[in-house]
Amino acid sequence: MTLLDHLFIVVFSCLIAISVVRNLPIVDKLAPVLYGLILIMLVRMASVAYGGDAYLSSFSLDLLGFKMHWQFTALSWYFAIITLVAALASAVFMSGDWGRQYREGGGNYGMLQLALIVNVFSMILLLGSGDLLSLFIGWEFVSWASFLMMVLSPSKLAKKSAVKYIVYAMTGAMALMVAIVMIYAVNDSLEFEQISIVFAQMSGSSQVALVLLLFVAFAIKMGLLPFHLWQAVAYAETPGPGAAFLGAISSRMGMFTIVLVIVQFIGLGGLKSVGTSFANMQTLLAWVAALTTIIPTYIALQQHDAKRLLAWHGVGQGGYMLLGIIMFDSIGSAGGLMHVLNHASYQAALFMTVVAVMYRTGTSDLNKLGGLVTQMPLTFLVMLIGIIGLAGLPPMNGFVSKWLVYRSLLVNGQPLLFVAAVLGTLGTILSVYKLIHNTFLGQLRLEHQNVREVPWSMLVPMLGLSVIVFITGFMPGLILPWIASVQESVGLPVIAHHLGGIEYAKGGLDMIWVSGILFYGFGVGALIFYFLGGKSKRVHQYDNYAGGHFLTSDVRYHYSNNFYPGLMHLIGTWYRGSFQWLENSIVSVMSFFSVFFENIYRAKQPVMLLLIGVVLALLALYRNLGVGA
């Protein structure tokens, strides 16, 4: 029994435990403890993230002559620790008053807890996969686990978007299956190492097909262009902390498999060998990543629902991860990998703040909020830290990973990709400003005068995540050893790092200095403001200038609707939604067939069934008679 076996056993027992007690009140206390337990198991395996050997599982499964096995490398561990921290934070968040409100509102709380542990279990299973078959099984588990969480919301839109998601996910799974069959057909083996061996033996067109099939499968999960449409609505409609968990890590399983399969076994040489020297597979993937940073981000800018806005950013930030890793150098891949953790930390925190605002006000519509900073100052603080991270500004962790990606693009002579990445960041900054302004700044609505800060059960995970956002930004050296081990385990060049950042011949980064100078600037400002001036006065929000107008509670001057009209005037016509009608028609066809088959197996149309039965019987009879004659 290795540590990995213990981990699997613990996760599986947790799954059983939560599924048994999920409708009892004790699940509130039990679930965070269980996630903490799994986290401890992972911490015990931490040596793998500091250059230790990968853990192999002693379990194996013989299936049709293949030996399926499982392993935990630095890459698996890195994604697993992010998953568990996100799950722990979500579990704590939903354990107290939020869960009570959810239950009272008619939500199936037990099912939500179950969905969370099923997600964690399936992700651990996927992350621990040791060959292509176990990878495929884990992949399917993850897809269906996400689906389970998405359909929990009672809204019709949630159901519809979940169906949409599962259509996408099944398409991706089929693509993965075909790719696995292609690999299997050559050497009758499903080991990971076969990918690179088979790839080298393949003809040019098969190589293109294999890379595209694999990439489509993983891109669908990650929501990369042109498969970006399913994710945002599906995640935004997921109930509260579930959305935080899914938004933080679920779609990053696509990133895990991209690193595991494409980066590790096909590699830069493999990607470059497909196509011409001007436009090869690397160029294609890099531009898919670049467009993924831009297009979903500007769709996010257009949203007026806070959860949708964040969910669209989740899609957009995936582009940075791919853009970094596809550069295949030490700093770029470190940036891409690090962005997974950074994005998970601030995205979960941001989703939680939005859920906290919804908990108190009942809405996440950015046009119906405003001025909540006096009522919910700590939630405001968390959102502020989160959006600084999301926008990629120092001293938060988003800056470090984005800086690494930018630096890598410049060093690798990719100015156009760099401009694309910066354009994406511009859209991010604009829309996160819209998010915090419309929610927390400006005029407080009359109906929100009595809104209070959320209870500690919700504040603690939010504050904890924002501490992670800051600490890993201030001292990225805490994370960088894990990144270096991941790079080593998948055969990428290893980044040279120290506590404050990276060492790099063409200009390194020391976040302790950067943050220090930033705080020094703030310190000088504070000194002037509090000690040399000191005559500040707080005023009421109605004692404000609106062209000399006397402001009263019946006049709204909080400017939230039609935000950025000038920019929207410029780019508004680009939002056409040409992907959308195609996708809608596919969903319609799928639902038509599902209704048809449902009617058959639930025997809703007995006459129809009888007719089909009779026809089949007659056919069989006729055939038999024919054969007999």
Binding site: V373, E453, D543
Partner: protein
């Protein structure tokens, strides 16, 4: 000489205090942000005064969008009673030291609207005015000269005492409030608590209070800032 109330003011023991004061006045006169409250036709003279031909920025004067950051309130033309309420609100929202410039004859004495029932005739009955620029309308040269006069007044305030008219609003608040109440009625109130500010600046005198402030106290509902609260 009016008898001043006993106000605790810090004794200035620093031997360089006057030098500092002089330096601050110098700086203030060189950097003025202007909120132009364009009430009438005089506003048409401002674009040439601001832009390249006359270029008031070379005097260190720039437009500003909010009263909180502005130093000068520029009233350009006739002030109807309805507008005057807004002007007073805006003036009270400005932070001291603040200066008022009345452009056009209308602000001096009502000008061609002298007979109108709906205009306030003399602006300085409702707020202390630093400089009047008469004319119908004054040319940009006159506007520039008026601004230059204001700068000189600020710079030479120590000798001539012309650059601190804003203190008068706090010192004689009852007078201004009385005129305002006569126009707007007894229930007139703005969000800003002038008496509290007079105390803050150490400028309250006997004339700060009177029967008009008593009237105000009767119906004034204070607009307190919202508390930051965690629980």
């Amino acid at each position: 000489m009016k008898k001043e109330l006993k106000i605790k003011q810090k004794e200035r023991t620093n031997p360089l205090a006057h030098v500092f004061d002089d330096f601050i006045r110098f700086c203030q006169s060189k950097s003025l942000f202007m909120l132009h409250y364009c009430t009438g036709c005089g506003a048409i003279e401002l674009p040439p005064a601001m832009t390249s031909r006359f270029d008031m920025e070379r005097l260190g004067i720039q437009p500003m969008v909010t009263p909180r950051q502005a130093d000068i309130l520029l009233i350009t033309g006739y002030v109807s009673i309805k507008t005057l309420k807004r002007v007073i609100l805006t003036y009270e929202q400005m932070q001291s030291p603040k200066y008022v410039i009345g452009i056009c004859s209308c602000t001096v004495n009502g000008g061609m609207y002298w007979q109108s029932y709906a205009t306030a005739k003399k602006l300085n009955e409702y707020m202390p005015v630093d400089v009047y620029i008469a004319g119908c309308m004054p040319r940009p040269e006159a506007v520039m000269a008026g601004l230059q006069r204001l700068k000189d007044n600020i710079r030479n305030d120590k000798k001539e005492h012309k650059g601190s008219a804003w203190k008068d609003y706090f010192k004689r608040y009852d007078y201004y409030l009385g005129n305002q109440q006569a126009l707007f009625g007894e229930d007139w109130q703005t969000p800003t608590d002038i008496i509290a500010e007079a105390k803050l600046y150490g400028l309250e005198t006997e004339e700060t209070y009177g029967k008009h402030t008593k009237l105000l106290e009767k119906h004034q509902t204070p607009l307190l800032p919202q508390e930051m609260r965690i629980k």
